[in-house]
């Protein structure tokens, strides 16, 4: 059709017979939109009897585009509707120019839409494509196609049912993903996790569709792998194994607050470096976990990760032998020294020379105390404080509490076969205001107690339950009941008493041991015995 673009008046006269027999309708419109000429097919399409003296193009077509063509001198192809018989037609408007390039009018080629469809179906694979799409819609494939204007063009049968089953809020998320994919013109893959129930998470892949650089739409798939129940179970099992084995990965660090995001980014950055690193943060903020994550992210990941209490090591009689042992078993790996007390400057020197002289080990320090330079040898202080990551205390990232609670709850549900799906908003709000001196570890303990108190029918933990539990906490020293064997009761008391002392001394072991009148070593022994987290400060 493009070839007829520059028809001049002379040619038109000469080939009148030819135009009448064209398989498409042909109209010539002058500069004032008056119809000058129509061939037979055009007459049929517009249902005219032959008298065209009074007809203008606007009388034949709704929203004719002649004005645009006259202005731009460019052809336009579009779908139109005829005014008289409301027929759908495909029209090609083309400027009608003299040999000098002066505009004389517009040539319009018209074809009924049905005929156009027939041609398309004969010349292209459109029928096949439509057939396949129909089959896909009815199959197990889960997909959705969106057009540029964000309207949904096609979706598989149970796309929305599937999503709504997972979350009522999935709609917004899915629309947003399509939008981002189209805007960025990149494929995006994202996982939706409902915080309440861990097992219900899905992955959606959104891919923009482009043709010749022009954005046409976006297709979204539900990732079947992720939907697969057993796959999810496996992922969860692996998560549990990671927790038991303490081989954490970056995804195991929960939280969206800026502080934790910064820590995460730092971890990624420092993982590739070989220099000593210091992780700071209060007790229970997850310093050990982060050290493990850094090891996993580093090139040393296939070598051992050794955890070592440096304060205990420093107090041992043969420090250099112990260090030698660490070096041997951790060769090519990472060693995590945690220091819960200030150590003697002489020992610091020893450690410094140890760290300086080994290339086969990467050293990460963990420290829960404030770093005051006077407690440290200058050189040691300089070494450890050069690269550091600070983990925020839980009270500094209250917004993460509900995320953390969700993850911990899912874990506890599995462990104790309970079915608590939710913690009341009120409770979360209350917790956000709490101090949490023991941080995440304390949050986990609190949740564990609540879960253990709950019966099989409890699905939601409410403020009342919390208060009940709180009052128990205050009475917990007298929890021993008469049907407990004496030894168990004594152990229970001892555990509670040590816990209380630890809390009173902000988990400083030296002070706690002193107040209890026992040695630090003995305290550690008892903490291990009662499975009190050493806190990996």
């Amino acid at each position: 059709m493009q070839g007829v673009m520059k028809i001049t008046a002379n040619i038109l006269d000469r080939y009148d017979h030819l135009f009448h027999n064209l398989p498409v309708g042909l109209l010539l419109v002058d500069k004032n939109d008056k119809i000058n000429y129509l061939n037979k097919i055009a007459l049929d399409i517009f249902d005219l009897d032959g008298d065209i003296s009074t007809v203008s193009i606007n009388g034949l077509l709704e929203n004719a585009s002649t004005t645009d063509v006259k202005q731009m001198h460019d052809p336009i192809e579009k779908r139109d509707i005829t005014k008289r018989n409301r027929k759908q037609v495909v029209t090609l408007y083309s400027p009608y120019l003299s040999e000098q390039g002066e505009l004389l009018g517009v040539v319009i080629l018209v074809e009924p839409l049905s005929l156009f469809h027939e041609r398309v179906s004969q010349l292209t694979n459109i029928d096949l494509v439509q057939g396949v799409l129909q089959e896909l819609r009815n199959s197990h494939a889960k997909f959705r196609v969106v057009l540029v204007d964000h309207s949904e063009w096609l979706s598989s049968e149970d796309w929305w049912d599937e999503l709504h089953a997972i979350s009522r809020h999935a709609d917004k998320w899915v629309h947003k993903l399509a939008e981002i994919a189209m805007e960025s013109r990149r494929e995006i893959k994202e996982t939706f996790e409902d915080n309440k129930v861990m097992s219900n998470h899905i992955e959606i892949i959104s891919k923009p569709i482009q043709k010749y650089g022009k954005l046409i739409g976006c297709v979204q798939f539900l990732n079947a792998d992720k939907l697969n129940k057993s796959e999810q179970e496996l992922q969860f099992a692996k998560k549990i194994i990671r927790t038991l084995e303490k081989t954490y990965q970056i995804d195991d660090i929960i939280g969206e607050s800026p502080a934790i995001n910064i820590a995460r980014e730092h971890a990624k950055l420092y993982a590739k470096m070989e220099t000593p690193l210091l992780i700071r943060g209060e007790m229970g903020t997850g310093k050990y976990m982060l050290a493990r994550v850094i090891h996993t992210l580093s090139d040393r990941y296939s070598h051992p990760f050794i955890r070592c209490n440096f304060s205990a090591l420093a107090n041992s009689n043969n420090m250099s032998m112990e260090l030698e042992h660490v070096l041997r078993s951790g060769r090519n790996g990472t060693v995590y020294f945690y220091m819960d007390e200030i150590i003697e400057k002489e020992k610091q020197g020893q450690l410094l020379s140890f760290v300086d002289n080994i290339e086969e080990l990467r050293v990460i320090f963990g420290c829960s105390q404030g770093l005051l330079s006077e407690h440290w040898k200058d050189s040691f202080y300089n070494m450890i404080q050069r690269y550091q990551i600070t983990l925020p205390a839980l009270r500094e990232r209250q917004e993460d509490i509900s995320l953390l609670v969700g993850t911990l709850l899912a874990k506890l549900n599995r462990r104790y076969h309970t079915n608590i799906s939710k913690i009341d908003k009120e409770v979360i709000e209350y917790w956000k205001k709490c101090e949490w001196p023991g941080n995440i570890a304390q949050l986990e303990r609190t949740l564990e107690n609540l879960v253990l108190e709950a019966d099989a029918f409890t699905h939601v933990i409410t403020k009342e339950q919390l208060e009940k539990d709180d009052s128990k906490e205050t009475r917990h020293l007298h929890r021993a009941s008469s049907h407990m064997p004496l030894q168990t009761a004594i152990d229970q008391f001892e555990k509670d008493y040590i816990m209380l002392a630890l809390q009173q001394h902000d988990f400083n072991k030296t002070k706690t041991a002193k107040s209890l009148g026992i040695s630090v070593r003995n305290l550690y022994y008892k903490m291990d015995k009662y499975k009190i987290d050493r806190g990996a400060p």
Binding site: K238, E245, H303
Partner: protein, 357 residues
């Protein structure tokens, strides 16, 4: 202070995959088949070393095991120089011999190599336990009628010894104090006589010595074998394949896989029992033969391997050997557990580790 619980990674390379298992003492935490890519399978066996190693380490990490908690790595032993039974630490010499395939190429050669590579990364020791080349045979047992030809000791050392130990503990005795005759009945059949912990005589099932088995021919009269090798027109390799992979039960019952035997036993029990009768006769005779090695002083007999899972066969054998000693049945074979136990004995200090020279 000795640790109470040891973690041992066990590696058993197979043709197209590697079976790995993680043990806490002798309890299996998990077992996994790490499958190789076709590209890797197409490579030579030694060339697969790096990819197999990487696959194993990746799979352990993906499960989330803390590798610093692993105390030892144990591989299946390969075709080394003939050695005494026991648990060996993988050393440079062993690695060199396996790399050079001094005693033949077999996928099991990778066991020690992989264990060595991985243990090196984790700063722990690598071991192998009772490889097939265990040779504790008496000199006299090696003699044949042709002075220049000697019998070789190639047998299911790992399973036989592991069953020997289990049997000893069942009898409240130590393996090293007993005389046992153990018949391993699997793809090949080997019957060994274990005298005070040493396998002093055993038939070489692989080379056609002793009873026939699921797929092997066993002893064939010399004259007929010579006749067959000249008349059949087969090449040396084809004839060997015929004798090792296409004879025995397979030939009698015209089946391919061991699973077919189970099906056939259900559908045509009479046909299968007829073959079992012949097999039982041959195994019993071999047990009798081996019993004479220790002058009949046999404390117990054990039947093991996959074929020991068939009660009818066991019963038939027991009927004929019951006059020698009591017979115990240990169906199947657990390579992974046997390897883990061998390593554990060394880690716990029950047994001394041996050095390969």
């Amino acid at each position: 202070m000795t640790k109470k619980i040891y973690r041992i990674l066990v590696i058993n390379p197979l043709v197209e995959s590697t079976r790995i298992a993680l043990f806490e003492n002798d309890e299996c935490l998990y077992e996994q088949l790490v499958v190789l890519t076709d590209v890797c399978v197409a490579k030579g066996i030694i060339a697969q070393r790096d990819e197999r190693k990487r696959n194993i380490m990746d799979s352990i990490q993906s499960i989330g095991i803390d590798i610093s908690t692993i105390d030892a790595v144990c591989g299946s032993g390969g075709l080394l120089r003939p050695i005494e039974g026991g648990t060996y630490q993988v050393n440079e010499q062993m690695v060199k011999d396996l790399n050079d395939s001094i005693n033949g190429t077999h996928v099991s050669n990778l066991g020690a190599l992989l264990a060595f590579d991985i243990a090196n990364e984790w700063n722990v020791n690598a071991y192998i336990v009772d490889p097939v080349v265990v040779d504790e045979m008496l000199d006299i047992a090696k003699k044949t009628g042709i002075p220049s030809i000697e019998r070789k000791s190639i047998f299911h050392a790992l399973n036989q010894k592991s069953v020997g130990r289990s049997l000893a503990s069942q009898l409240h005795a130590t393996y090293e104090d007993l005389c046992l005759v153990i018949a391993h009945m699997g793809g090949g059949i080997t019957v060994g006589v274990h005298q005070y912990g040493q396998v002093i005589d055993v038939n070489n099932g692989f080379d056609g010595d002793g009873p026939f088995s699921f797929e092997r021919a066993g002893s064939i009269p010399n004259k007929d074998l010579i006749q067959l090798s000249f008349d059949s027109g087969m090449s040396k390799e084809a004839l060997q394949h015929q004798l090792i992979n296409k004879s025995g039960i397979k030939a009698y019952l015209d089946i391919e896989r061991s699973a077919d035997l189970k099906i056939l036993l259900r559908s045509q029990p009479e046909k299968v029992k007829e073959v079992f009768d012949i097999l039982a006769y041959q195994v019993a005779k071999e047990i009798g033969k081996m019993s004479t090695v220790v002058s009949g002083n046999v404390n117990a007999i054990a039947l093991t391997g996959d074929l020991a899972g068939y009660d009818y066969l066991n019963q038939k054998i027991i009927e004929q050997v019951s006059w020698i000693a009591d017979t115990y049945v240990f169906p199947g074979e657990n390579v992974m557990l046997a390897l883990a136990r061998g390593t554990l004995r060394v880690l716990q200090g029950i047994e001394k580790v041996k050095q390969y020279n």
